[in-house]
Every structure is written in structure tokens, then in C-alpha cells.
Assembly symmetry: C2
Homo-oligomer: 423 residues x 2
């Protein structure tokens, strides 16, 4: 149901001719960014636009250097339809995923391609925000140096296991990093000399976006994404949109109460889901001590098939499933994606999980599919990149021309073609 006056108003605003053209250019770019190579015929079919309009739109995107066209294969009679595909080296995003253990970094090109990925241990204690920021800035410089000549950087986006205030990217709280009220985005932007837009997002949200757009939840509309780690990173897609809440803090799925009198949680409360089944709790469920074992040891235990390991799998699956049942009853998702430690344990844990989520209401249970993350530890990087792709997808012409004007202050619009030809 549409509620209130918003939708009609928004539509009434988007009726001008320029606006229609911008929206159409954007639609074609989105199609190939999210769907990969497409024939012109496929674009005509997907958009409902006519063939000559599609030709003009792709010509505009070729001029901007964002897509290329090549002759398609001849299928049956008639002229082959040109194939349109994103130029992955045209624009890119530098994406980071900070966890307690490491910094993952990637250069992600248009079309969501991982052009370069690096995983580095922290150089000092992770609690030292300034030290982590210096490390990120160094990685930014290294990765920019490796980018293809003429390739444009859209910005830097950092995934953190944290409540992040928008739009200023203040990290309000991250127990697993030990960061509280840390101005991550302001500090990183300064360390980069304010040359690039910088943003930050919650790891669960970005993972959900990635699995929805390019991973295990492609084609779903209502998705739960859960990443087991020190804590639990969670994100929810509701009818194709990321759940954000009033302040952008929604989706703190690790802090649903599963045992009111249970373990103390880093958030100050007791019996939160993440206190009961974060990595430390899983390690304990396997009869190990979290101080001298890690989740890799648990995975190794599973491979042995010992009774202790089977018991650990069962205990973990039961409490993971208990939280999932609560979330399923709330969201009625079509797909539930498990990543991180839950993804690693998924193959052995699956029967226990299914038994545990049987407590969800029948009509809801029968619609939900539980799957393992497809993107694994790349999910946060891929999701982070989409944050910075948003502008060029919404406003391709304006965004590219603005970037070129900065890159080459004297370049008039007529120079675009020459400049982009080098990419």
C-alpha cells in the first residue's frame, strides 16, 4: 500500500524532459552495471524504450567512457544487435572492510568488478583510530597508483562493524574495534587532503546490499543478511530497499534478546544474540577457550567429525536458528543469507538450523530459503563500492563532467572524448 502523499509528489516532480532523459541514461547504465553485458535488443525489452532512443542513450554513455559497444553475434536472420557492456576501468571506488583482525582493501570498477584486492593485518592496535586511518590513507595512495591511466576515482568507502551516523560518518560505537564517537570519515578525508569523497557504512548493511545486488540473494526482494564474527553484523533489504531506520542505525540484528538472563554483551545488556553466538560463544560451544583458540580451530574441529565438534555444531545451530526464527517472524523474508562464521559452518550446521527455524510461523517459514553467502569476505567490499557508485548511476553526465573538470581544470566539454579515449 502506498501511504500518504509522498509518492505522488515525488512523481509529479520528475516530469520535465531533461529529467526524463537523465532518468533514461541512468536506467541504461544501471542495467549494465548490475546485469553485465546486454544486447541493445535486451535493453529495449528491459526498459520499454524504443530502439532509436536506446541508441542515443548508449552513444551518450560511450561518449562519457562508461560503456563500450561491440558488434554482437549473428543469431538467426537479420542484423546482429550491438552488445553494450560497462568499461570496468572507466571509474572505480576504493573500498575497505575493517574488522578486529585485518583491513581488506579493494579497487572496484564499474560493473562491480574487483580489479585489485589486498588483505593486511593492522599495523598497530586496532583501537588506535589515527593509526588505522594512516594505514587506510597509505593503501588509498598505493591502489590509486595502480589504476589505469585516465581512470576516475569516485571515492573511498569504509565498512566498519559499527553504528555509523549519516551523513558525516561518525562511528558512534564499535565494541569489536573499541571505537566510540570516532570521526572516521572526517579523519580519513583530511588524511587524503580532501581530494576524494569519503563515506563509511555498517558492515552488515553493506553485506546485505552486496548479496542482494550481486550475490546469494539476487532476484529476492526481502532479504536478511547475517555475518557471524566477533559480534553479529546484520542488514535487511525490505522490498528492494536497505532498511535504515530514523537515524541510519537500523538492522542491529546482533542485539535482539535471545536469553534475558544470558551472557553479558559488549553493548552493556545481557543475553543479546551476538553475546550468545558471536565467535567467542561459538568457540566455547566447541569446548575451546576463546583466549587461545579462534574460529579457524573450530572449522578444523568440524572436519574431524568428533563428538565434541558435532555437539558444538548443534549448540551453535540452535541458538543461530532461534534468532533467525525471531527475525523471520518480523520480516517474512524470501532469502536469508548467512556469512562470516555462520557461512563457514553453514554446510554442517544446516540440518540443525532448519530444525530450529521450524518454530517460525508456518506461512512465513514456507516462504524463506536459507542460503550461504556467495560473496564471502568480499561482500563488504562489493557493498561499500555501491555507495560511491550511486552518484554516477543516478547522474552519469553531471558526475563524469564534474570529475573531469577537477582532473583537468581547463578541459572544456569538447575535450571529454579525447581524455576518455585514453581509458
Amino acid at each position: 500500500m502506498r501511504l500518504g502523499t509522498d509518492d505522488a509528489k515525488r512523481r509529479a516532480e520528475t516530469s520535465g524532459q531533461d529529467e526524463v532523459r537523465r532518468a533514461n541514461v541512468s536506467t541504461v547504465l544501471r542495467l549494465v552495471h548490475f546485469g553485465g553485458a546486454k544486447t541493445r535488443s535486451e535493453i529495449v525489452a528491459a526498459t520499454g524504450l524504443n530502439r532509436s532512443t536506446v541508441g542515443a542513450l548508449t552513444a551518450e554513455l560511450v561518449r562519457l567512457g562508461l560503456i563500450r559497444e561491440r558488434r554482437g553475434e549473428v543469431v538467426g536472420k537479420g542484423r546482429p544487435s550491438n552488445v553494450v557492456e560497462p568499461v570496468s576501468q572507466s571509474v572505480y571506488v576504493l573500498a575497505f572492510d575493517i574488522t578486529a583482525g585485518e583491513v581488506a582493501a579493494a579497487r572496484v570498477g564499474l560493473g562491480g568488478y574487483l580489479l585489485q584486492v589486498r588483505r593486511r593485518l593492522h599495523q598497530g592496535p586496532v583501537q588506535d583510530v589515527a593509526g588505522v586511518v594512516d594505514h587506510l590513507a597509505m593503501l588509498v595512495r598505493e591502489m590509486r597508483a595502480k589504476a589505469a591511466p585516465g581512470s576516475l576515482c569516485l571515492g573511498v568507502v569504509v565498512s566498519v562493524p559499527a553504528s555509523v551516523r549519516q551523513p558525516d560518518g561518525l562511528v558512534r560505537r564499535s565494541p569489536s574495534l573499541g571505537w566510540y564517537e570516532a570521526p572516521l570519515v572526517v579523519m580519513l578525508a583530511a588524511a587524503l587532503g580532501h581530494e576524494l569523497p569519503v563515506a563509511a557504512g555498517n558492515d552488515g548493511d553493506l553485506g546485505a546490499v552486496a548479496e542482494y545486488l550481486r550475490g546469494a540473494a539476487r532476484g529476492s526482494r526481502d532479504v536478511l543478511y547475517i555475518r557471524g564474527q566477533d559480534g553479529i553484523g546484520g542488514g535487511v533489504i525490505v522490498d528492494g530497499e536497505l532498511l535504515k531506520g530514523a537515524g541510519g542505525y537500523a538492522g542491529e540484528l546482533g542485539h535482539i534478546v535471545v536469553r534475558p538472563e544470558g551472557r553479558h554483551c559488549a553493548c552493556g545488556a545481557r543475553g543479546c544474540w551476538e553475546a550468545e553466538t558471536g565467535d567467542s560463544a561459538i568457540i566455547r560451544a566447541f569446548g575451546r577457550n576463546p583466549h587461545d583458540s579462534d574460529i579457524e580451530d573450530v572449522i578444523a574441529d568440524v572436519a574431524t567429525g568428533s563428538r565434541r565438534a558435532l555437539s558444538g555444531v548443534r549448540k551453535t545451530g540452535e541458538i543461530v536458528g532461534l534468532g533467525l526464527a525471531t527475525l523471520m517472524n518480523i520480516f517474512n523474508p524470501d532469502t536469508v543469507v548467512l556469512g562470516g562464521s555462520f557461512g563457514s559452518l553453514f554446510p554442517t550446521m544446516e540440518p540443525t538450523l532448519h530444525a530450529a527455524v521450524a518454530r517460525a510461523l508456518g506461512p512465513i517459514r514456507e516462504q524463506a530459503t536459507l542460503v550461504r553467502s556467495e560473496l564471502g569476505s568480499d561482500a563488504q567490499l562489493i557493498g561499500a563500492a555501491e555507495v560511491a557508485f550511486a552518484d554516477v548511476l543516478d547522474h552519469p553526465v553531471r558526475t563524469i563532467e564534474a570529475l573531469l573538470a577537477v582532473a583537468t581544470p581547463n578541459a572544456a566539454e569538447s575535450n571529454i572524448k579525447a581524455i576518455r579515449a585514453t581509458s
Copy 2:
């Protein structure tokens, strides 16, 4: 963040001239339906449309009989701006709210006015779906007979404490009514000789819609609505849209797990929130027996201020607050609306509630306001009516002309004015 290709596509589709005009007529009608009387100047300011366009749009709506215009007050210099207001008797919806104890019925006019409200005990056992349907059909006939001459009925919408399949309105499960796989909508449509559109919805969802549009959550974007009753009816507004989920079953907030080893719930699981704090649990918390006391006795106890009553309030507030904290961590709402038994107990329970939700994460807790339902037991009726108002709000011309064609099969479009003049 906008995800994927949907939004751009939707916008590209709504660009034709006819479509723009339809959207504008719809926008003006929504403004007065949801906001009440408005001067033309206010409509110009709210829509961004120019004065002559607004004049043409209001003229169209006057022709359809949906609004009336009157001369406004003179304020300062210049001509007074005409005041536009909805004609509440022009079109109406018959709304029902079925609970275990009674049937509430209302005739709701354009603008959301309750033109007539009736509350009736069930005529037989509530488990007898066919008997309840007969009762509803009788009330439909009675209320239609009371409607103003020329007034058009948009349809019948029934609120039930149930998982309702859309679009066919099959009641999948309603423990409190004892209905399972009951084809409520099909049966009621047949009982009414297929003369009116019939729909059904979940009581929590409809209450959420009503409080968001016309009650305690007006102006909020992210709302939790919770109605304490036999069970717990819940509904969630996410960024101005009702949370529905893959099959329309989302928002089963009563079935979040708050005590894994707790009381048996009617859903078959244990420790669901509604098993721990539905009406029976509240009555027990007040030291009473649910078999010979009801929630009215509890409210009377509160008025005495006895120690037993204070203890009951505290126990109830703690468990209600525990569930609220989980939901707040998930949704980061700006407003939490408590209705039903929770609304009745709200004034005395408020301090305990605030203490209990302190366990929610800081950035989330500081953004949420807990309030008592404004619409009380009318919320479901008002929310149900909006389901059937949707068509006339989206497509005013098409909907009214179609209704008139049925009402008076030989009426050509030129007769509309004459017919509507009787309203």
C-alpha cells in the same frame, strides 16, 4: 540508498502527459484526504504546481463530487484564497475489526471521518467463520442503508488478528479467533452477492497505518505499532511504507522469542513475546486467574494502587520493554506507539518501560519516542478504511466514473454532475 534498477524504471514509466495530470489530481486529493481543509495557496505551496493548474485540478475534483470549495477568510490585503475540503459523504468504506470479544464496524467517509461506529458482541461462537460472515453481511446492509443518498461505497475491509494471504484474503492462521485457512474474503464477497470489493488485513498492520497517517505517529517516518490483546498485534512503518515482507506476513511482532524456555504459545513455539505478555499473562502478573478475570479487572486494580497492582505493572512493563528493546535495535524507529492493553496500562507502566528499553543501543534509544495510541480501539477501523480508499486516491477520475457507471448503468459521463449534485 536506492538499490538496483527499479526506481529509475518506475520513474521513466510515469512521464506521459495524461499520467502527469492523473498524478497531480491524485496529489491534491491526497492532500485534503490526509490533511483536511486547505486553502488553494497552501495547495500551491505544498505541491509546487502553479495557481492555474491547481484551479483546474480542484475543479475536476469538485466535478467528481469528492471535494467542495468555499470562499476563505480575508487575511490581510488581497483576495481571500478559496478553501478546499473533502466531502466526507461523497465516498465511504465499510470497515470492520474482528477480535475474540466483538465485532467493531464503521462507515468511514473521505477524509477518514468515522461517520458511524457500531460495536457488537459476536452472535455465536467466534470460531464459526460462517456465522461471523453472516453477521458482517448484516451489518454491511444496515450501514449502507444509513449512508447519504448518492454516496458511493468503495468497498468492505476487515481487520483480523491473523496472518492474511494477499491478494485473496485467505486467513492462514488466527489462534485468537480459532480460524485456520479460512477464506474470509471469498465468503463475505459471496454473502454480499459480489456487489462490493472485499479485502482483509492484519490488525497490527492496519493499526500502524492508522496511527502513522492520522494518529500518534503523524510526521514520523519509522514507526513501531504494538497492540496488546489476547496476542500481540504488530505493524511496522519503514521510511513511510508498511512493512509487508515476501508474502505480506511480516510484522508478526508477537512471535519474537523473549524467553526460549518460557510459556507455550498458541503458535506452537515457546517463550514468544505474546505468550509472555498477552492479556492472559498480564492478568496472571496481577495475581489473577485469566479464567475468571479480564483486562478490565486489571485496569481497575491499577486504579487502587495496591502493592499487588504495582508489582503487576512492573512485571508487565519489564517484559513489554524487553521486546521493545529488541524491536528498537532492529528498526531504529522515531516513534513507538502502544495500543490495546499496553495503551491502557501506558500511563502507569511508562517509568518501567523507559527503564527496560534502556538496554537498547544508545544511538537508537536516544532517537525513539514511546507514546500511547491516539486512536485507541478505532485504529483498526481507520486503517482498514485506507485500504479501500487507495484506488480513489490513486485514480480519482477512473474510480468514480466506474462506480457511477455501475450505480446507474445508463449514465453517460455528462450526467455525472447531476448525479453528484444529490450528494
